[in-house]
């Protein structure tokens, strides 16, 4: 009986082992690539699908299959697909999600796969968002700065100086302006800080804030220095001292602030550039809004971003064909189509010259002028960052912004508790 059971189990195992997939080749030698896109807005999905159709029409031997993914749970979904050897050939994701996959060996190093045209078209500072160790594990193709979306009517009647990318507000000036715009039940600004860490860190690049410091031995430590404190102090003081920032929106997401913004309750809302699509769609008729650059500090308008990326799975048997498709997708004209569909900025310098991105309508020109100031988000390659963010920085910043703790306590928690967390990842 025992022998029979063992034989059955071994047979089953062999059967399972023998039933593996054959990959993406058809009998006639045609290659099929799976492209998982996270595009979700109507115009963006249409642009992606159209580009795939165009590729398929001109490349009969390399067919691309469009697969709709979703931002929700994309990390878990990809991780499972990688582990199971079923990952899509071409993967759309965000650069801050790539570090683990790159370190895990799931993504192909694109250094030798990409064309010189594409390498030269995207600035080096943007390539840094997808460079881990010596390898390049994605092509950053879309990005968005954080901007101030303002009620243009309120701004005009208040008489405050309107900032431009050439002459932005300083953080001090911004605080003063929000005070002037407040009153009669209105706040100068509504900070949507449900996720306070990335917003704070990315904006702090403008004041020279780095927070994460890499030593000569490669180990990263947290230091919350004077330059790191300018942005959090401004937000804290607006909400708690000047009352020029709404305290209720500190725990809200960006979309939650829009009803109050449309109703004139807030004069400005700091949001990602792509939020303009929602504003355009939802704003009441006649509502006049405009895009302003985020305030500048010692480092000018610099801010951190995590661009959207296209990667190729290490397991893909057709990496060169996949790279050729990525190159096609990111030709300057096509990059513009993708950017317009997503209401974001292309990373390519050629695409950025397109006149469609320099029109004043919907604030495109202001956003495009900020492109040169976008840098790799400070936490991009810090191992242990997700845990530091969730367990230490998020609650500490939330308490600080709500006025429950002071800057000294905030500093202590970010540094002391934070370094304990990071140390575990760097033993």
């Amino acid at each position: 009986m025992r022998t029979r059971t063992a034989t059955l189990l071994v047979s089953l195992a062999l059967l399972l082992a023998g039933c593996t997939d054959g990959g993406g080749d058809s009998a006639d030698g045609r290659v099929t690539l799976r492209f998982q896109s996270l595009a979700w807005q109507e115009e963006s999905v249409a642009a992606n699908e159209e580009l795939v159709r165009e590729w398929n029409a001109t490349h009969p031997d390399v067919r691309v299959e469009y697969v709709q993914g979703s931002w929700e749970s994309v990390h878990d979904q990809l991780l499972t697909s990688f582990e199971g050897g079923e990952a899509p050939d071409i993967i759309h994701d965000a650069s801050d999600d790539l570090a683990d996959f790159a370190h895990g060996g799931y993504l192909a190093d694109l250094s030798d796969l990409l064309t010189e045209r594409l390498k030269a078209d995207i600035p080096q500072r943007t390539w840094e968002t997808v460079t881990f160790g010596d390898g390049v594990y994605g092509v950053p193709f879309l990005q968005e700065p954080r901007v101030l979306i303002a009620n243009a009517g309120l701004l005009r009647t208040s008489g405050v100086r309107i900032p431009t990318p050439e002459r932005p507000w300083t953080w001090t000036e911004f605080r003063q302006v929000t005070k002037e715009l407040s009153g009669d039940g209105r706040y100068g600004v509504a900070w949507p800080l449900k996720e306070p860490v990335s917003a704070t860190l990315n904006l702090s690049l403008s004041t020279g804030g780095r927070l994460f410091h890499r030593g000569a031995d490669g180990r990263v430590t947290v230091r919350f220095e004077e330059a790191d404190q300018v942005v959090p102090r401004t937000i804290h003081d607006q909400a708690n001292t000047d009352h020029s920032a709404s305290a209720t929106t500190l725990g809200s997401g960006g979309s939650d602030t829009l009803p109050g913004f449309f109703a004139g309750k807030y004069a400005m809302v700091p949001l990602g550039f792509a939020y303009r699509q929602q504003i355009e769609q939802q704003a009441p008729d006649g509502f006049d809004w405009q895009v302003l650059p985020a305030p500048a500090g010692a480092e000018g308008l610099d801010q951190g971003v995590s661009p959207q990326t296209l990667s190729i799975a290490e397991d893909s048997p057709h990496k060169e064909e996949a790279a050729a498709f990525v190159d096609f997708l990111l030709q300057p004209d096509n990059m513009v189509r993708l950017a317009l569909g997503d209401w974001m900025l292309p990373t390519g310098t050629e695409a950025l010259k397109d006149p469609a991105l320099h029109t004043s309508e919907h604030g495109w020109a202001t956003g495009t002028a900020l492109a040169a100031h976008l840098r790799s988000a400070p936490a991009q390659s810090v191992r242990g960052y997700p845990e530091w963010k969730d367990k230490v920085a998020t609650p500490a910043l939330q308490e600080y912004y709500s006025g429950a703790i002071g800057i000294g306590e905030l500093r202590g928690r970010l540094e002391d508790d934070g370094n304990l967390v990071l140390a575990r990842y760097q033993r």
């Binding site: 399972l16 593996t20 799976r34 929700e72 199971g84 079923e86 960006g254 009441p284 008729d285």
Partner: protein
């Protein structure tokens, strides 16, 4: 034992408050599904849309293959429910009636298995299904749902079996009915509400399940409704609220219809009159 009028009024008020609490999200969903974008972004939300529109439904259907996704969900949920009760019913009977060390251990295992996190199961499951060539297939998903809902279905049904008095089966045996006849004619009808409730549980669990479907189904034509719904949500939780609400409203309807059709079978007094007083 007579309840005073005040106490009765209090009970009704509490019940009403509870119903309002339960119904609020669903009513809000319906209201949202019919609002135009400008009204969705209003500072003072309204219960009844001022300018109701079907545009959200049109956009939802235009953007995503909702009907095909609903069909996939229906097949997966019905398949899972049917197979789960077919397997669980005889097993539950054995667990409930034949108490031994083995059945006690099995019951313990059933309880423990409910505590396993999804992420622990998903990679081995993925590998097994891949080798069986059942990735990206609704039958593969049905298999997962059956395995997933089986422990709880078993536990639930075992409780129903224990509620059927063994004396009834003994009486049937005394009257000359064989084992099979007793099970079919006496036990099975009394278990019917339990079987229906268990099937409903398995159906709704599978209908709403997201994570396994997300990981196992790759192409849009195979995906189920919960996965398709996430396509209305972008990075950092930004959502296309109107179409999302419209699609979510449509997604809740089949569960409600199934529940409305069979809820009487669950609550009906099938045991009434079974035992002579």
């Amino acid at each position: 034992m007579r309840t005073s009028t005040g106490a009765r009024a209090g009970q009704y008020a509490a019940l009403l408050a509870y119903l309002v609490f339960l119904a609020f999200p669903f009513l809000w969903l319906i209201s949202t599904a019919f609002k135009p974008p400008q009204e969705l972004a209003g500072l003072h939300p309204t219960w009844i849309p001022r300018d109701p529109t079907l545009d959200n439904f049109r956009q939802a259907f235009d953007e995503q293959p909702l009907l095909r996704a609903a069909l996939n969900s229906l097949v997966a949920a019905l398949g899972a429910a049917l197979i789960a009760v077919v397997i669980a019913t005889p097993m539950a009977y054995v667990m409930a009636r034949h108490r031994s060390r083995l059945t006690r251990a099995a019951t313990g295992w059933v309880v423990v298995s409910q505590a396993f996190p999804f992420v622990l199961l998903i990679i081995p499951l993925f590998l097994v299904l891949k080798n069986l060539r059942l990735i990206n297939s609704v039958p593969g998903l049905v298999m997962v749902y059956v395995v997933w809902s089986l422990p709880f279905a078993l536990w639930m049904l075992a409780g129903y079996v224990r509620a059927v008095p063994p004396e009834l089966e003994e009486a049937a045996a005394v009257d000359g009915a064989g084992r099979l006849r007793t099970l079919v004619s006496v036990t099975a009808p009394l278990l019917a509400p339990g079987i229906v409730a268990t099937a409903l549980f398995a159906f709704i669990t599978a209908w709403n399940e997201f994570f396994f479907a997300l990981v196992l189904l790759k192409t849009p034509e195979k995906q189920t409704l919960p996965v398709i719904l996430t396509h209305f949500v972008g990075a950092e939780g930004v959502a296309d609220l109107g179409p999302l609400a419209a699609a979510a409203f449509l997604a809740t309807l089949p569960s409600l219809v199934v529940f409305a059709l069979i809820q009487r079978r669950i609550t009906g007094g099938m045991m009434a009159g079974a035992v002579k007083s």
